[in-house]
């Protein structure tokens, strides 16, 4: 990397300089190739070593065969009607069912689109407080896991196929011994559980076998915050943050946009509050003051990217920062020179907004930071307004690290006769020092209940396939406690069993009951007041007419009324002192609470020289802790910030890369506490110095065909090997060394570039208030006169569809991409094809930086989702020789697959680079289990055809036909494209521009509305609402990268 070229480029520029990658800043040849060629050079060639002669042979053969191929007649198709048609089913009209998909145990409430009994698409449940109609990317992609052909399919005993009856007998035999021992050798291990009915099952098992133990383990869980929340609230509690009431938000390494059970709701609340601060509602009304987000973080995150001010610190310094915020700073110094001033301003701002501010500690920080955050909220009067506590949704809020450690010891001691692993994969995910793979085999009999054959199940005697949530009866609670009763959308495709079903084998009174009966029994009793803790009334406060009407109501709505946790303010907590603990605070720092992540106290600033590097662990942004490794949609989803697909990376700062002579794609060996792993390097602007971020989840030893580490080297990418129980999220003493190996990292960051054409526009709120026209002064903002075209103006008398994308709201989470993939049958192309620039996503999220890559403080980050602009003067239409892309009467830029011959002229002529060409047969046409996944309302495209965003024309047509049948107009909000529906921040708004009252028309009238490349007279229908930030006047850095560069 040529840092000197970057320096001179930055020095010579004035004002904002939006750049995507260091390659762009340094203007490298690779970058220029991506810029000037529609696809990079190797994309126009075969990957396989084919000679010219062979190529000609193939070409002539295919030409000859093409003529013959065109002669095929359509095969006779079958119509298979029902024998007895269910009353509700109207073939051709989808039904929607409410259920929940648990993620890390917590319910993501959803509506599932079902076509004649096959679920095809996940939507959020608009009635549910945790969803408000949207979802996250994982939930969107879970439908692919349902149909995954690699799922565990049959019940196995030591690799041999067995029946459910055999399993029940084996359990009965094993339990016969346990009865005498009161279950002393009986151990269960699950992930976090919020299901009340499973909770009751656990109690029943513990009544029968008092010595039996229940362990829980989630590699990404509330390791730091759980115990502290309990202390702060006075009961086992989950904190709930109210972003709608918070004017100032300070995060301490908290990534609330991307992680945690409430991230969808929080993103919505935060964005809504932010919009209130930008746009005046109604004529003449003034906007509220804009909220302000300070992010103090140890590694770049989506929350930091959205923040008005971002302070990169080492992970070990976050506690000192929290201390400084609480006025216990002690004048310590930070590795980041800007820290002290930053923290002073934050303190001032917090004091000025008492009761309307919010301090959030991240789950990646130890208990001490959580205590400080809670104490800060308490002393600022935020508890009860912006922070409340609800009784935890977890059935057993225990310290999971201690719990797993317990189990490891018991295994070692040979105390475990029967181990039942429910959904967890500890052999892969447990801290390295637990050596779980060596210990689990010491269990005399082990049962693994998993969705895929994995590292754990292969070491267990019995493998019971798990039913997917969409095949299951069950229940789960959302972040605020609201219960969703889960209903299956389809009978189990394979021999899958729910967790309740497996547990019922251990409970005498429940043996032989179906999952439906187990769930319904529990809730009928809960409704009847026979289960402690529930008082259920319908939403109007009345009691339901009968248990059945209650049951139907609950299944229909997707949530159980009256189960939301009662919110309470917390009790007082002295800053820095762990309430309820005997440990006392000393000048040296906070003694770790027994349940906390035992991070060494670090109130003194970490000394970079002595400790070497710091390692920061994070779950992978798309495949999470590894559980989505076999999900192609998530694998191919460009990871927010880096835009890397298919692989994990280690993030380093530009300076560290320079020091260690690292280039992007170099494989480094990380050595931490005697363990080693390897990772390819990515240089991440904004990364704190002296630290390396490593993402765990990859390097799977055993899962499906998609997720299994494909090469020898990528098996070394298992970062769990480095993670130890005393350094769950970070630790110092990391050493890195170059291995000399290079690795292909498929990164879309430099794909579909738009050069320096100001696609993103941003301003500070003050500047915008002073000059609302500021966004019209950008380059390429000039709107040519409407007469400047040879083509006569079209009239759009009926509807005129348009879209706005609010960059102030967008968090860059990329859920829209997965929603689009799911709705529009978009194929997965694979790592190599992504590297060739052939990814098929119809909507992409572009990612720009501004600032000096050598100065982490100066980096600002911008996200921009880019679907088709549906230009009124579309450049693509003029160049198509076969009329395969033409305008519709409603102004859509139609793509007609059956006419397309694949010249790719349109794509070449598209200034927004939103057209995608199906180079090979990317779509999987042969795997039978993937057929029911597809949306029947969208053509499944074959090879050689151009495709692109259609504004979800299938949904428009559906609504138009419904409206026209009853001679009415389509209502505003009746058509919601997949991306807009899924967006947690509600950033994408779609509607009819002919209707002045529609939401999108009103948004388009805002001053911050602009079209990208309007200068070209394309008249894009998709426009953007410019990004506004609200920096503190004392911290505001001068605009532009050059001036911040020293």
């Amino acid at each position: 990397m040529d840092l000197s070229a970057i320096r001179s480029r930055l020095a010579s520029s004035e004002g904002r300089l939006y750049w995507r990658s260091l390659g762009e800043l340094a203007d490298t040849p690779q970058f220029r190739e991506y810029l000037h060629r529609e696809f990079p050079e190797q994309a126009s060639q075969w990957n396989d070593p084919q000679g010219r002669r062979q190529f000609l042979k193939l070409m002539s053969a295919s030409l000859a065969l093409a003529g013959v191929g065109a002669c095929t007649k359509q095969p006779i198709e079958k119509i298979v009607p029902y024998v007895r048609q269910p009353e509700e089913v109207v073939p051709g009209r989808p039904l929607f069912f409410a259920t929940a998909i648990p993620f890390n145990g917590v319910a993501a409430p959803v509506l599932i689109e079902s076509h004649e009994g096959r679920p095809t698409k996940v939507e959020g449940n608009p009635q549910h407080s945790a969803s408000m109609g949207s979802t996250d990317a994982f939930t969107q992609a879970s439908i692919l896991t349902l149909y995954d052909p690699d799922r565990a399919k049959t019940l196995l005993y030591r690799g041999e196929v067995r029946g459910w009856g055999d399993f029940l007998t084996a359990v009965k035999n094993a339990l016969a011994d346990q009865k005498a021992k009161q279950g002393a050798g009986l151990r269960f291990l699950s992930e976090t559980i919020t299901s009340p009915s499973v909770g009751e099952q656990i109690t029943l098992i513990q009544q029968q076998y008092p010595q039996a133990k229940w362990h829980q383990w989630d590699p990404v869980g509330r390791h730091g915050g759980r115990a502290v929340a309990q202390q702060a609230a006075g009961f086992a509690a989950d904190p709930i943050y109210h972003f709608d009431k918070a004017d100032i938000v300070v995060t301490l390494d908290a990534d609330f946009f991307a992680c945690g059970p409430a991230s969808v709701r929080y993103a919505r609340d935060f964005a809504a509050r932010r919009r209130e601060g930008v746009d005046a509602e109604g004529e003449g009304a003034a906007a509220k003051p804009m909220n302000r987000l300070y992010a103090i973080e140890s590694t770049p995150s989506l929350t930091g990217a959205k923040a008005d001010h971002r302070l990169p610190l080492r992970a070990s310094e976050i506690e000192a920062a929290a201390r400084a915020l609480s006025g216990q700073g002690g004048g310590g110094s930070f590795s980041n020179a800007a820290a002290q001033k930053f923290l002073d301003v934050v303190v001032k701002d917090l004091q000025a907004h008492r009761g309307a501010s919010l301090v959030i500690a991240g789950e990646y920080q130890p208990a001490a930071v959580h205590q400080l955050a809670h104490a800060l909220n308490q002393s600022l009067g935020n508890v009860g307004t912006t922070v409340t506590y609800v009784p935890t949704s977890e059935v057993q809020p225990i310290d999971q690290l201690a719990s797993l450690g317990d189990l490891a010891q018991a295994l070692d001691a040979g105390q475990v006769d029967l181990l039942v692993v429910l959904g967890a994969n500890p052999v892969f995910t447990a801290p390295a020092d637990f050596k779980f793979g060596e210990r689990i085999v010491k269990a005399k009999l082990a049962v693994a209940h998993t969705l895929f054959a994995d590292e754990t199940s292969t070491l267990c005697h019995w493998n019971v396939p798990e039913a997917h949530p969409l095949e299951s009866w069950g229940d789960a609670r959302a972040y605020d406690g609201t219960v969703t009763v889960m209903q299956p959308l389809i009978a189990p495709l394979y021999d899958g069993r729910t967790m309740a079903e497996v547990l019922s084998a251990f409970i005498d009174s429940q043996s032989g009951k179906s999952p439906h009966d187990l769930t319904k029994d529990y809730w009928t009793r809960a409704y009847g007041g026979q289960v402690a803790g529930w008082s259920i009334t319908d939403p109007t406060g009345q009691t339901f007419k009968s248990p059945d009407s209650f049951w139907n109501h609950v299944l229909h709505d997707g949530w159980v009324p009256g189960t939301r946790g009662a919110e309470a303010g917390g009790r007082g907590m002295e800053a820095g002192k762990p309430a309820g603990s005997t440990a006392s605070a000393t000048a040296g720092g906070v003694a770790p609470t027994p349940t906390s992540n035992t991070q060494p106290p670090t109130s003194a600033p970490a000394t970079a020289a002595s400790g070497g590097l710091e390692i920061i662990f994070r779950p992978d942004p798309t495949i999470w802790d590894g559980r989505f490794a076999n999900n192609g949609w998530l694998q191919e989803l460009p990871k927010p910030l880096t835009k890397v697909t298919w692989d994990p990376t280690a993030w380093v700062s530009a300076r560290l890369a320079q020091e260690r002579n690292l280039r992007e794609g170099d494989i480094i060996e990380l050595t931490f506490r005697g363990n080693t792993a390897k990772l390819p390097v990515v240089i991440q602007p904004g990364h704190p110095e002296g630290a390396v971020t490593a993402f765990f989840g990859y390097g799977r030893g055993l899962t499906g065909r998609v997720g299994q580490a494909p090469e020898e080297v990528s098996r070394e990418f298992n970062v769990y090997r480095l993670r130890t129980s005393d350094a769950m999220w970070f630790g110092s003493g990391l050493e890195i060394s170059r291995t000399g190996q290079r690795y292909l990292v498929s990164r879309t960051q430099e794909h579909h570039l738009m050069e320096d054409r100001a696609p993103v526009r941003d301003a500070n709120i003050e500047a915008f208030r002073k000059d609302p026209e500021v966004f019209a002064k950008y380059p390429f903002a000039e709107k040519p006169p409407r007469s400047l075209t040879l083509i006569p103006d079209w009239e759009f008398p009926t509807y005129k569809w348009g879209m706005t994308i609010d960059l102030t709201a967008c968090t860059g989470c990329s859920t829209c991409i997965v929603a689009c993939v799911s709705e529009n049958n978009i194929p997965v192309v694979g790592k190599q094809q992504v590297a060739n620039g052939r990814e098929m996503h119809w909507i992409r999220v572009d990612h720009y930086y501004d600032g000096d890559p050598e100065n982490a403080n100066s980096i600002s980050t911008f996200h921009q989702p880019v679907p088709c602009m549906q230009c009124e003067n579309a450049p693509c239409e003029l160049v198509c020789p076969v009329g395969a892309t033409v305008h519709s009467a409603e102004g859509l830029n139609d793509m007609v697959y059956n006419r397309c011959v694949g010249t790719r002229y349109c794509s070449n002529n598209c200034p927004y680079k939103v057209r995608r060409f199906n180079f090979f047969l990317f779509q999987d046409w042969t795997t039978p289990s993937l057929e029911p996944l597809r949306n029947p309302d969208v053509t499944v495209r074959s090879r050689g055809v151009m495709e692109k965003c259609t504004y979800c024309v299938q949904r428009i047509n559906y609504a138009r036909i419904d409206a026209k049948r009853t001679d009415r107009k389509i209502k505003d909000g009746e058509v919601v494209p997949a991306c807009a529906g899924a967006c947690p921040a509600d950033a994408i708004v779609f509607g009819d521009l002919n209707d002045p009252e529609s939401r999108v028309s009103k948004l388009k009238k805002l001053e911050r509305n602009y079209g990208v490349l309007e200068e070209l007279n394309t008249r894009p229908r998709t426009t953007y609402l410019a990004l506004l930030r609200n920096p503190h006047p004392e911290l505001e850095t001068p605009r532009g990268a050059a001036s911040t560069h020293d």
């Binding site: 007649k73 359509q74 006779i76 198709e77 079958k78 119509i79 298979v80 009607p81 029902y82 024998v83 007895r84 048609q85 109207v90 073939p91 051709g92 009209r93 009926t798 033409v886 305008h887 519709s888 009467a889 409603e890 859509l892 139609d894 007609v896 697959y897 059956n898 309302d937 969208v938 053509t939 499944v940 259609t950 024309v953 299938q954 428009i956 047509n957 036909i961 026209k964 049948r965 001679d967």
Partner: protein
């Protein structure tokens, strides 16, 4: 320098150019004729079915309305092939032992669906919607022909795009009053030439530009 080509080459070259043109023309004609023929389009071809169901008998003789079986034609894209239960509504009472109905009874008994062969099969990239056509006054017989006279079901029209476009360009020539949609024998009154135009306005039928937009049918 002597001539390379003999004088007669002129004739040969003219003949071969002409011949090539004629050959290409003939070939093109043959291709077009074949692609328009019932062999390719399926027009007029009777498709074998598991049960020899006669529309002529059920619709023509018994007078059963289309919607008794094709229940969803007014609300969905798909007109619904009736479940076995619909057949058994009557055939559990009449013709209970007819050998021809054994597959129907077997289906009902064993809860195994009948598998009909599709007669009207549009290409997979075409999204036809029955409900909107019925609502806008396109009669069943306009596309399906007079099924009440078909002992065995066959495809009356070519279902090629140019056939669709005839109506999408000029709907007034084909639509009928809504109350006549399910009337198999409906004839336009000869003394009312303005009827189509009137109905088009009354039913708020979209203009040809909307009806011939690609995404109206393809997506």
């Amino acid at each position: 320098m002597s001539q390379i080509f003999h004088h007669s080459t002129n004739i040969w070259s003219k003949v071969s150019i002409l011949g090539a043109l004629v050959f290409i023309g003939t070939l093109a004609t043959v291709v077009v004729v074949i692609s328009w023929s019932g062999y390719v389009t399926g027009q007029g071809v009777v498709v074998d079915q598991p049960v020899q169901f006669s529309h002529a008998h059920h619709v023509g003789s018994m007078g059963i309305d289309c919607r008794y079986c094709h229940t969803t034609v007014e609300e969905s894209a798909f007109a619904n092939i009736p479940p076995t239960k619909t057949c058994m509504n009557c055939h559990s009472q009449i013709w209970t032992n007819a050998p021809i109905l054994e597959p129907v009874r077997a289906s009902f008994r064993e809860n195994r669906p009948l598998q009909w062969n599709r007669v009207h099969d549009l290409p997979d990239f075409v999204y036809f919607n029955h409900s909107i056509h019925v609502a806008k006054g396109v009669g069943c017989a306009t596309c399906h022909g007079q099924v009440d006279r078909m002992p065995l079901m066959l495809q009356e029209n070519s279902l090629q795009m140019r056939w669709c476009l005839e109506c999408h360009r000029n709907p007034e020539r084909f639509i009928r009053p809504r109350d006549q949609v399910f009337n198999m024998a409906y004839q336009r009154p000869a003394d009312d030439p303005g009827l189509g135009e009137r109905l088009k306005n009354e039913y708020k039928i979209a203009d040809a530009r909307q009806l011939t937009s690609c995404s109206t049918c393809h997506r």
